[in-house]
């Protein structure tokens, strides 16, 4: 039995330590996808393998978190899958990068039967096949319609209806809102807004993509309409609005199919309807909605493009797509004929989505759409959150977009002026480095110590584990990324050219970077002292002779075990408009007439996380709360090295509590304190998952920290060179900061 277990273990291990592969003369295809659940996909692939006995398909389901980053990283390393699912807005970016295979020839036969070709078409060629699509439709709460005296079977058909209905529902009061407007995140604000603009005949970009058209009268008209609609709307991130609608607090929202599953989960009793989106006027325009979707692409790197195309043809077959649609109920087929499927008769709400899709439009397929959308979202958020007049907002955004659109053409080699600038920067950097080096050496100086060879060798043996691992897995990537930081490296295009310090200069002169840096400094300055003091205080309390020490220790530590997304969701709830914090403020406020300073407490508009001044402090509070327990434990461990005799001796000497703390505890804790301050500062400067989970850098970029800025630059705008430059600037920054800290703590002197 034992032997068998050992054998099994060995087998399992050997598989993990060697790349295990079972090649049997079959063509092995790799296929990466995100949307379809494992069991459904597996059964389809089994069928495919039966039809094509010479092909073996290795399907990988990628998680939505960082799934895209994995695809990008694999392309950069030349390790891309054969067939891959991709969000439709990415196709132009990947197509310009030249990483996608042209699949025009294979798809000619099915072209008439499918919708959604626009996003996969680039320069007249097809670079992918439409697979699963989704659109947005109007959800309306029938109960609220009844309460507001509206006909629950007559959803709004025009903008005026929408405005009027929203006003009536908002007037019901009690925390009920008429409509839901999305703000505070990168994608959803424009996905909701653009359909309104499109319905009115407005466009974001000119057909040749040379100019932005957002200062057209139609666009401004739409934005003004939005401006009047916002008075009767809840303004929040999409997930929050969806949640509020499910709870029956929002009269109408325009959102996607996933709500059909979300609502029963939250509030199965909700009586709601789904209808096509309203259009500007009864006799003008069309109810245009936003179409997004997932497409299948074949990478040029694929060694088996023909087999990959076979799999693609198989997966986009109507019966297979309908299998996915029926099992997941949150996507639509891109096949026109599917409307006849009896499934849609049984699911009238999904049918509305299908009808809506016939007039839906995808985002413009500009390769730099990721940059254009940033300005678009910003313009919308300025109007909704900051009351900027629509005209002023679009003018500013339009100018920025034109810059992005023109950027491609003006990208040339270094000019004379910039060479001069590079020299200046090099000199400054070298100067700073020398200055710091001297400071550091002074701080760390040994005073004439002699080293013995034997001691030195034995010391190096002791540190060899780290030295070897660092030399291989630290130094190589370090040098690699440093080279990247001096190059113009687009990771999709694998375009690589040495540009000297241009990345550093571009980053250092980017106002967005300045803002991000300021946010980061603010973040570190706000969290590190607080966390340290609270942690030290708690550790001192626990270290006294109190009962249940281990309980507090565990209690304070365990939040670290809970994943960031749980903590972020709980705090999102606390900060939400009708969340815990606002309830508390309401409770604390003494009824009118009582003159108390508590009356000065205001609930921020529109809500905590969407207030540009409060969003960052809110995240900071969350970080302090979720991390101080961890540092408490570290302090507690540090306190253990002070022997009880020391305490006893000092209390016999009649030392006060403060005296004990000041002259015995503090000096003893210095090394641990240094560790905590340095580590906590580094972590604060690198704060990322919290921002990613809570605000995605918004609203209006007010929570973009340097690492979030870096991430967006490298993995969404594909400027890995610039992103690496940011990384090294962050590094230098933290290094300088740490050296100051080491100096304050007199690191070089032997302590304790």
């Amino acid at each position: 039995m034992k032997r068998l277990a050992a054998l099994l273990l060995l087998l399992l291990l050997s598989c993990g330590f060697n790349t295990c592969s079972g090649k049997e003369g079959k063509t092995a295809l790799t296929f990466w996808q995100l949307s379809v659940k494992e069991d459904v996909m597996r059964s389809m692939i089994d069928e495919f393998e039966k039809e094509n006995p010479d092909i073996k398909v290795d399907v990988q389901i990628l998680a939505w978190d960082f799934g895209f980053d994995k695809i990008v990283t694999s392309i950069a390393a030349g390790n891309a899958p054969d067939l891959c699912e991709l969000g439709s807005t990415w196709v132009p970016t990947f197509a310009t990068g030249g990483v996608l295979a042209d699949v025009t020839g294979g798809l000619n036969g099915v072209k008439d039967k499918y919708l959604f070709w626009e996003p996969v078409t680039y320069q007249g060629k097809l670079f992918g096949a439409p697979w699963l699509v989704g659109t947005r439709a109007l959800f309306y709460n029938k109960d609220l319609f009844r309460k507001a005296g509206l006909n629950p079977d007559n959803p709004p058909k025009t903008w005026n209806d929408l405005l009027e209905y929203s006003r009536k529902i908002e007037a019901l009061g009690g925390g009920v809102h008429g409509f839901g407007i999305y703000v505070g995140e990168p994608y959803t604000p424009w996905q909701l807004f653009l359909p309104f603009a499109w319905s009115d005949g407005a466009e974001v970009l000119s057909p040749d993509f040379n100019k932005s058209l957002i200062n057209s009268p139609e666009f401004i008209e739409t934005l003004s309409f939005y401006n009047s609609l916002k008075k009767y709307s809840i303004k929040d991130r999409q997930a929050q609005v969806n949640q509020a609608f499910a709870e029956g607090k929002v009269g109408m929202q325009i959102s996607g199919e996933w709500n059909l599953m979300l609502i029963p989960q939250n509030n199965p009793g909700l009586d709601y309807g789904v209808a096509v989106v309203p259009k500007p006027y009864l006799n003008k325009g069309e109810p245009v909605s936003f179409a997004g979707g997932e497409v299948l692409v074949i990478f040029k790197q694929s060694k088996h493009p023909r087999e990959a195309a076979k799999l693609m043809d198989f997966l986009i077959r109507e019966d297979n797509i309908m299998k996915v649609v029926k099992s997941q109920k949150n996507v639509l087929p891109p096949t026109k004929e599917s409307i006849k499927d009896p499934y849609f008769d049984e699911q009238p709400k999904q049918r509305v989505f299908f009808e809506q899709m016939l007039t839906a439009k995808p985002a413009p397929n500009h390769p730099n759409w990721q940059k254009v959308e940033e300005d678009l979202t910003r313009a919308i958020e300025q109007v909704v959150l900051l009351d900027v007049p629509p005209k002023a907002a679009v003018e500013k955004a339009g100018a920025k977009m034109d810059k992005v659109l023109a950027a491609k053409k003006t990208k040339t080699a270094l000019s004379d002026k910039s060479v001069f600038a590079i020299f200046a920067v090099i000199i400054i950097i070298i100067g700073a480095a020398v200055y710091f080096w001297q400071k550091m050496m002074k701080a760390l100086e040994f005073h004439g110590k002699k080293f013995h060879l034997k001691n030195t060798i034995s010391a190096y043996i002791f540190i060899s584990p780290w030295l070897i691992i660092f030399a291989v897995f630290g130094l190589f990537p370090l040098i690699h990324s440093m080279i990247i930081s001096f190059s113009d490296y687009n990771i999709i295009e694998s375009r690589f050219s040495f540009v000297g310090l241009a990345n550093y200069i571009n980053v250092l002169t980017d106002p967005n970077f300045h803002k991000a840096l300021w946010h980061t400094i603010f973040f570190a300055a706000g969290t590190v002292p607080f966390t340290t003091v609270i942690a030290l205080f708690c550790a001192l309390l626990i270290n006294r002779k109190v009962p249940f020490k281990q309980l507090y220790q565990a209690g304070l530590f365990l939040p670290v075990v809970t994943s960031v997304i749980v903590i972020a969701s709980i705090f999102s709830y606390i900060y939400s408009p009708d969340g815990l914090l606002n309830i508390l403020i309401d409770k604390l406020r003494i009824p009118a007439g009582g003159g108390s300073f508590l009356q000065l407490l205001h609930k921020p508009e529109p809500s905590w996380l969407l207030n540009t001044a409060l969003a960052l402090p809110c995240i900071m509070a969350m970080c302090v709360w979720s991390s101080f327990g961890y540092y408490t434990i570290l302090f507690l461990a540090g306190l253990q090295s002070i022997s009880s005799e020391t305490y006893e001796a000092s209390s016999i000497d009649g030392a006060t509590w403060w005296g004990q703390f000041r002259y015995i505890i503090l000096p003893q804790l210095k090394p641990i304190m240094l560790f905590i301050v340095v580590i906590n500062s580094i972590r604060s400067f690198q704060v990322f998952p919290e921002v990613f989970a809570m605000t995605q850098g918004g609203p209006l970029g007010s929570t973009t920290t340097v690492v979030y800025y870096l991430y967006e630059l490298g993995f969404h705008k594909f400027e890995m060179g610039a992103a690496s430059a940011v990384g090294y600037i962050v590094f230098l920054f933290i290094m300088g900061f740490t050296l100051i800290q080491l100096k304050i703590f007199k690191f070089g002197e032997s302590v304790g």
Binding site: L478, Y552, P559, V566, E645, G727, V730
Partner: protein
């Protein structure tokens, strides 16, 4: 006098600590609580689902008449494992033998006779409650029950009224855990995570103690520069290293192997820094005594320093185990097959783009958290026990 004040103060401190502990434990509590909910989200509970008719509105009854196999049918589309009871108001014309049934997507059905739950002679409104467990769901696809139906073998006479048909949601259930555990080869994920974390944790405890000891107690050329390098290597945002690390692993052929996940993590700079700082706080007397007694440096390290550093090593152990157990990014990037997935990578598939299936996600998170909590509870006694238990006397 002083003693009395001390006792008072201790009470106050205990109360404060209990309060702080309670507050910090809230998310963990919410996580576990959500994972045993049958339906709902982090902040919402769902206690019942109305199938037909509004409870309390006896004015809108369902009229049931005629005969046949299915004389009344209502769409459910529910996972019946979530529910405890089927409840409704019932008004019969007397003496009717009817059967309530559930039908799954394939048309299979299971019936119970109503006479067991209601007084069939009574002609007034009465409340009927059928435990879902009484339906024989073994042969059915309990996850996808499409309809609830009423059938009658004998012709039914008169009109029947039915109102407020409600499904009561179970208060506590383990189905989320069951669903998560059968959705993939979780044994394999667990095994992978365990092997990786175990190697990394023990590797770090031994190697980092060695390195930290040298940095804390020895003098050698390049010491401070190397130490700055250790701290410096944590200062570069990890996002910058993703692409270089990936291509390095690809070039040495370690993609999709345990090596790629274990070896680079064996000497975490964080741990070296922590242990070095901790060893600095230790008194030198014992080491010197050991050296005079003729012990060599290795013996000093393993017999004196490591036993004295238990509190810090406990933290290193907990921290490293937790870190490698929860780590997502590199296992996700560097592995490509289902067999090589670690637990967090397997569980991340529970999040979809727009909506989060909270009950399942929390069950999945709890499954990941439990081993870490166990490891913490095993190690934690060393944090406080440390020196006060008297390794050092004078």
């Amino acid at each position: 006098m002083a003693r009395k004040e001390d006792i008072k103060l201790n009470y106050l401190i205990t109360a404060a600590l209990v309060l702080v502990t309670a507050i910090t434990l809230i998310p963990l509590f919410i996580m576990f609580y959500t994972s045993i909910k049958a339906e709902g989200t982090l902040t919402k509970n769902v206690s019942e689902i109305v199938v037909g008719g509004e409870a309390g509105h006896a004015g809108i009854p369902f009229t049931v008449s005629g005969k046949g196999a299915f004389i009344w049918r209502e769409r459910l589309n529910q996972d019946m494992r979530k529910f405890s009871r089927l409840e409704f108001m019932w008004k019969s014309a007397g003496n009717q033998e009817l059967e309530f049934g559930l039908v799954d997507a394939l048309g299979k059905s299971s019936f119970v006779s109503i006479s067991k739950y209601a007084d069939t002679k009574k002609t007034d409104w009465q409340k009927v409650s059928i435990p879902v467990g009484d339906f024989n769901l073994k042969g059915l696809d309990a996850k996808n029950i499409e309809d609830v139906v009423i059938a009658s073998d004998a012709p039914a006479s008169g009109t029947l009224y039915l109102d407020g048909v409600i499904l009561h949601v179970k208060k506590v259930t383990l189905i989320n855990y069951v669903d998560v555990l059968v959705s993939g080869p979780f044994g394999r994920y667990f095994f992978n995570s365990f092997i990786i974390s175990l190697f990394i944790t023990f590797g770090n405890i031994i190697f980092c103690s060695m390195v930290a000891y040298a940095f804390a107690r020895k003098e050698f050329p390049g010491k401070d520069m190397l130490f700055l390098l250790i701290i410096g290597s944590i200062m570069i945002p990890p996002q910058v290293m993703m692409v270089p690390m990936f291509s390095l692993m690809k070039n040495i052929g370690w993609l999709n192997t345990y090596w790629a996940l274990i070896i680079p993590a064996l000497t975490e700079p964080f741990n070296i820094f922590l242990l070095r700082q901790y060893i600095k706080t230790l008194p030198k007397d014992l080491e010197e005594a050991a050296l005079i007694d003729g012990a060599n440096e290795w013996q000093v390290l393993f017999r004196v320093i490591i036993p004295l550093s238990k509190p810090a090593l406990a933290i290193v152990g907990i921290n490293t185990f937790m870190g490698s157990w929860n780590t997502f990014l590199y296992p996700f990037l560097l592995t490509n097959t289902t067999e090589m997935r670690t637990l967090p990578v397997g569980l991340a598939l529970y999040k979809s783009l727009y909506s989060v299936d909270w009950t399942h996600l929390m069950a999945a998170s709890s499954i990941t958290a439990i081993p870490v909590i166990i490891v913490f509870l095993c190690f934690q006694r060393y944090i406080i026990a440390g020196l006060t238990q008297g390794a050092i006397k004078g």
